[in-house]
Symmetry: C2
Subunit: 316 residues, 2 copies
C-alpha cells in the first residue's frame, strides 16, 4: 500500500520503518520537507518520500496521523478534504497535568471520535496508539506477540487496517466501533504512565493472549551428517517447516547445530501428543510434502524418538 | 493472611479458590450464609467460612469487594466503619447500555475512587478487576505471565496487596495512586467487551511484557542410564534446578524422558551464550551446588555439547 504518515517524529519514523520493511511505500507529510533532521527517518523507511502535509495524501491508500495531539487540528486542516479517505489515528489526546502527561478527554468521547469530527466523511480508525514507538518497528523477541486493538466503524475497510497492523508484527484484534477508542486511549495512557512515571522500559508491550497448548511429547531427531553438509540440511528444513506450521498437531520446533561437531544437528519438535504426531500428522495432508523436503537426509538420522516432559522445566 | 471476600459469585469464588490454594484463610461475606449455592465456592476455597456481610470483616487483614457495581453501596453500608482497614476493590463500574455492558463512570473519577468516598478512612486499592474470573484462579499456561495492575494511595500497605495478587500467579505492576483506576477500569472494559461482544474466550488474559533474552546456545545433555533409574535422575534435578534458576546465564531448561527407552533422557538448557555458560556459570557460585546434586549421574552422560540456534525455529 501507499501510506502517507503525517508526522516524522518518533512514532511516525517507527511506523515508516516498519511498514517500509513490510513492502509498503511511505510518504512522510511534514511541515518542512527540507528539514535535515528528516534524513534519518526517510532513510530508515526505505527512502521514503517527503512532502508538505497538504500534498502528502495525494496518492495514499491510507493516511496515518502521527502528530502530537495539539497539532491534530492544524494537520487535518492542512490535509484538506478527507472525505472518502482512509485515516488511521495513531495519536493520543494528551495534555500536561499537575503530575505529568494525562488524557485530555475521554469516557464520553475520545481522540479518535474527535478526529472523525474534524475530518467529516473520512473513514477514521483508531490504531497504533497503544504502545511506545520503540515497540512499533521491533515487535520480535517477546514471549507473546504484542497486541494492537483497532477500533472503527468502516467494516469494509477495516481489514486493510488490520492487515497493516499485522504487517508490523503485531497480533491485531478488532475492538469494534470507533467509540471503543474511549477504551484504547486509557490503555495507551497506562503504558505511557508506566514508562514516564514508573520506570517501565520503553520496550514494554501489551499482549492479549490465550492459554497455550502444552506439548505432550517432544520428538528429538538427531542428525549425524556424513553425506550432506549443514547448509543443505537447513535449506531442506526451510522448505519443510511450513508444513509443520500448517499441521495443528505441531506446537513448535527448533533446529540447532553442534558447536564442537558441525555435522551434528538436533531438531526438537513439540507435538500435542505422540499419538497426535503418529496418527494425526503422519496420516494427514501435511506429512507428504514435509517428508519430500527432508527425505534425502533420512539415512543420516542417528536418533528419532519421542520424549515425555518431566516436572523439570522452567523458562526465565 | 485472613481475607474477607464480600460476594461469592464468579469473581469472589475464583479469588477465594486461588488465595486458599496459596495458604490464605478465606471468609465469604454474603447476604444469606445458608444459601445452598454457597457450598461449592466454600469447598473450592479450602473450607472457607461464611458470614453475613456485617460480620465478615471481623478478623480480616484485607477486605475484598467482589460484588456487582449496583451492590457496592449496600455492601459498604453493611460492612460498617472501614476506617483504617485495607479494602481491595475488585469491582468494575458497569451499567447496561444500548449495546451491552458499558462503564457507568470514568475519566474524571473511577469506581475505585467512588469506593474510597463511600468508605472514609479506609485504605482502598484497585486490583483484580482487569481479567475475567476464569483467569483469576488459573494463571498457568500462558506464553507470558498474566498481569494485574494495582492502584492505591497507601504506599505502606500496597506491598501486602501486591503480594496477594502475586500469590494468584499474576505478574503484578504498581500503577501508582488510586486515581489510576480511571485507566484500569477502561482496561477491564476492553476485556469485558472482547469477551461479551466479540467472541474472545473467557481465558484471554492481558500481559505487560518485556523483550525476552534469546538463547545464544542450547546445551544438550543426553543421559543413557545404566546404574540409576529415571526417578533418581529427576529427583537429583529437583535439587539442581534452583541453582540453574539462580544463575543469570541460564534462560531455561527442560528434562524429557524417552517413550521407547525410559533409560534415555535429554536435558536441554538454554544459555545466554556458550561463553556465559563456560565462563560465567561454570566459574560462578551456582555451579558447585548444581554439580553436587547431579555428580553421581555424570558417568551415565552419553553426550554433553553446545548447539547453536539456526534460523529454523517457530512456536505456535
Amino acid at each position: 500500500m501507499r501510506v502517507a504518515i503525517i508526522g516524522a517524529g518518533n512514532v511516525g519514523a517507527s511506523l515508516g520503518k516498519g511498514w517500509a520493511r513490510a513492502g509498503h511505500a511511505i510518504t512522510f507529510g511534514v511541515i518542512d520537507p527540507a528539514d535535515p533532521r528528516l534524513a534519518a527517518p526517510t532513510a530508515a523507511a526505505g527512502g521514503a518520500e517527503l512532502a508538505p502535509v497538504a500534498e502528502a495524501k495525494a496518492n495514499a491508500d491510507a493516511i496515518v496521523l502521527a502528530v502530537p495531539w495539539d497539532a491534530v487540528p492544524a494537520a487535518i486542516a492542512a490535509l484538506g478534504d478527507l472525505s472518502g479517505r482512509l485515516v488511521i489515528d495513531a495519536t493520543n489526546p494528551l495534555r500536561m497535568g499537575a503530575s505529568g502527561l494525562e488524557l485530555a478527554l475521554g469516557f464520553s468521547t475520545s481522540g479518535g471520535e474527535e478526529v472523525a469530527r474534524l475530518a467529516p466523511g473520512a473513514s477514521v480508525l483508531k490504531a497504533m496508539n497503544q504502545v511506545g514507538f520503540a515497540v512499533m518497528s521491533d515487535t520480535a523477541g517477546y514471549p507473546a506477540r504484542p497486541v494492537i486493538f483497532v477500533a472503527g466503524d468502516d467494516a469494509a475497510r477495516k481489514p486493510q487496517v488490520l492487515a497493516l497492523v499485522a504487517d508490523l508484527g503485531f497480533e491485531v484484534v478488532d475492538a469494534g466501533p470507533l467509540d471503543r477508542a474511549r477504551l484504547l486511549e486509557p490503555y495507551a495512557m497506562l503504558w505511557i504512565d508506566q514508562a514516564l512515571s514508573r520506570g517501565a522500559p520503553a520496550d514494554n508491550a501489551f499482549a492479549f493472549m490465550r492459554k497455550q497448548a502444552v506439548a505432550g511429547a517432544i520428538e528429538y531427531i538427531r542428525y549425524a551428517l556424513t553425506v550432506h553438509d549443514g547448509a543443505a540440511l537447513t535449506s531442506a528444513y526451510v522448505l519443510a517447516a511450513p508444513h509443520l506450521q500448517a499441521a495443528p498437531e505441531c506446537l513448535g520446533y527448533d533446529l540447532t547445530q553442534c558447536d564442537e561437531d558441525p555435522t551434528s544437528f538436533i531438531l526438537r519438535i513439540q507435538w500435542v501428543s505422540a499419538q497426535a504426531h503418529m496418527e494425526g500428522f503422519r496420516r494427514g495432508p501435511h506429512f507428504p510434502p514435509f517428508l519430500a523436503a527432508i527425505r534425502d537426509f533420512i539415512p543420516e538420522i542417528a536418533e528419532m524418538r519421542h520424549y515425555a516432559p518431566t516436572a523439570i522445566a522452567w523458562r526465565r
